[in-house]
């Protein structure tokens, strides 16, 4: 379970969260809110990549000292090196984190033909696939996906849903949290909608 309490986050004069608290109890959660309400910012704070002004985030009752080990995130907010090819970006992450080369994910997303393409030359759908591969290959117990189906083709959405169905099978306390403006397919696959 992920618990957020007393969260305060503002960008200059714009207050996004003020003494905000929420608990994500379901194993699969889909956060729903209109644009600009802070869904992505919340995911970034959960992943430890953005710091709130105050507040606490607990994962199974504990504050994570090294979130990168247990939380994986895919978001457009994390700029990937656009001058590298997709293969080089994946390779860099594999080397940094010591994970295995994600052969199954690459073939599952039909991404093999695009490995040698520079990131900035990839279509938005393929850029999304690259982000998803980087997050999914870590096998982290907490998986945060920001708009995972945006720009994806139908076959890839089906493949992604299949992956998410089985993702938590070997992760007892794991959770998947996504943000999505078209949650219907995810709800069909057991995601619980939570408004911000």
């Amino acid at each position: 379970m992920i618990e957020v309490s007393g969260l305060h986050k503002q960008f200059s004069q714009n207050i996004l969260y003020k003494d905000y608290r929420i608990s994500f109890t379901a194993p699969r959660v889909c956060i729903e809110a209109p644009n600009g309400q802070g869904k992505t910012t919340l995911l970034m704070m959960l992943a430890g990549l953005e710091q709130p002004q105050s507040g606490q985030i607990l994962f199974a009752g504990k504050v994570l000292s090294e979130p990168y080990k247990q939380v994986a995130i895919a978001s457009d907010r994390i700029a990937l090196p656009e001058f590298l090819t997709a293969k080089q970006i994946i390779n860099l992450t594999v080397s940094s984190l010591g994970c295995d080369w994600p052969t199954a994910l690459i073939s599952g997303f039909n991404f093999s033909d695009f490995l040698a393409t520079r990131f900035d030359a990839l279509s938005s759908g393929n850029q999304k696939k690259c982000q998803l591969i980087l997050a999914l290959m870590r096998g982290a117990p907490y998986l945060l996906l920001d708009e995972p189906s945006a720009a994806l083709d139908q076959a890839s959405i089906i493949y992604l849903l299949g992956l998410l169905d089985n993702y938590l099978a070997d992760k007892a306390h794991g959770q998947i949290i996504i943000t999505c403006h078209e949650p219907a397919p995810f709800i069909e696959h057991g995601f619980e909608c939570v408004p911000l």
Binding site: G48, L49, E66, Y68, P81, F83, L84, N91, L92, T93
Partner: protein
């Protein structure tokens, strides 16, 4: 085509020309704004030295024209001019072509109009070629007989401008091959050097695309930075080009006034520190852009430290080159330069607005104390 049709066509072309001139002016203004952001004080200093730089430009052209007695030196000077011109035009390329609206332009006019306007704006932008044209108009018949290679040099200036717009890869290959040619210990006439330049640039156009960086196995921060610099070589090329100018100027000055070596060394050190430590502005931008990616990969701290390495390494390479090929620097200035470079790196990171001020004050203090 009827008279009315021709009139309409001319009116369309004139509208398109006005649009391109306007886009060119706006983009150039933005470029200058970026320079202002880099440091208003630099503009003040460089602005006051503008007359001197224009005189130097013509002096260098004189060396290229009158190179019968020292053809290799003349060829090296010509190569440096072509390099500097290429650096300048590469920076202005987007303004010349109105690259951002290129597809839009294709939807409104035929492609030969596009190219015609490109060439017009290229000629307008190429101050190096204009300076050569001014000199060429001033040469008399007997001078032309002594410098027939200058026609080829001007042809190269124009052609390299075109290459810069349409075949930048060939331009890079050509500059590398011609650099080798001017460094070879051979004794050939200036005309032969310039013919060699033309042949090498022409051959470069036939070479296939070759990207080393795509084949690089990026698995650590070192290869990440290496790949960045391979694909954004312009951030190094313009600095190396200007440092080459400084080195050549110092070499010439040392030949004339060896007694002022201490002053020349301080000036050289100042420019080495300036052009190498300012690389931190580029590296810092890259760090800010990708820090979240590396943070997610648990390499946040390493990535932060690594952003200073390119500037440090660049400084050491440039300093070693100066010591090897130009002049010796005394230990005190050498040690101070290393400290100064570190200070400029710190200022570039923490107080970028004060970067130019600190550089100028330090240069002044060192000139006063050490000379």
């Amino acid at each position: 085509m009827s008279k009315l049709g021709i009139k309409l066509e001319i009116a369309q072309y004139r509208s398109f020309m006005q649009y391109r001139y306007q886009a060119y002016k706006i983009e150039l203004a933005q470029l200058l704004q970026q320079l202002k952001n880099f440091g208003l004080l630099f503009l003040v200093v460089l602005g006051s030295a503008m007359l001197g730089m224009i005189l130097l430009l013509f002096l260098g052209l004189g060396k290229i024209i009158d190179s019968i007695d020292a053809p290799q030196y003349g060829a090296q000077m010509a190569w440096l001019y072509l390099l500097l011109q290429s650096v300048m035009l590469s920076a202005m390329k987007s303004a010349i072509q109105n690259s951002q609206q290129r597809l839009f332009q294709r939807t409104i006019v035929r492609s030969n109009w596009l190219k015609l306007m490109d060439i017009k704006l290229l000629l307008l932008s190429n101050g190096w070629l204009l300076a050569s044209a001014v000199i060429a108009l001033d040469l008399n018949y007997s001078q032309w007989l002594r410098a027939p290679h200058f026609v080829l040099f001007m042809l190269l200036q124009f052609s390299l401008g075109v290459l810069c717009l349409y075949k930048p890869r060939a331009l890079i290959y050509g500059l590398v091959f011609t650099a080798i040619l001017v460094l070879l210990p051979i004794n050939i006439a200036p005309l032969a050097y310039h013919c060699g330049f033309i042949i090498l640039f022409a051959l470069s156009m036939l070479l296939p695309a070759f990207s080393l960086s795509d084949r690089l196995s990026v698995n650590a921060l070192f290869t990440f930075w290496l790949s960045f610099f391979m694909q954004h070589s312009r951030v190094l090329v313009w600095r190396v080009a200007l440092l080459l100018c400084v080195f050549m100027a110092i070499t010439t000055l040392l030949n004339e006034r060896a007694d002022l070596e201490a002053i020349f060394n301080v000036i050289a050190a100042a420019f080495m520190v300036l052009f190498t430590s300012s690389l931190q502005f580029d590296c810092g931008k890259l760090h800010d852009k990708y820090q979240l990616f590396f943070q997610a990969n648990n390499q946040s701290r390493l990535f932060f430290i690594s952003q200073f390495m390119p500037s440090c390494l660049f400084f050491l390479i440039i300093l070693s080159s100066y010591l090897l090929f130009v002049a010796q620097i005394e230990w005190l200035l050498l040690s101070l330069s290393v400290g100064w470079s570190t200070l400029q790196l710190y200022i570039a990171q923490k107080k970028p607005a004060h970067y130019a001020l600190v550089w100028m004050i330090t240069t002044g203090v060192l000139l006063a104390v050490l000379t």
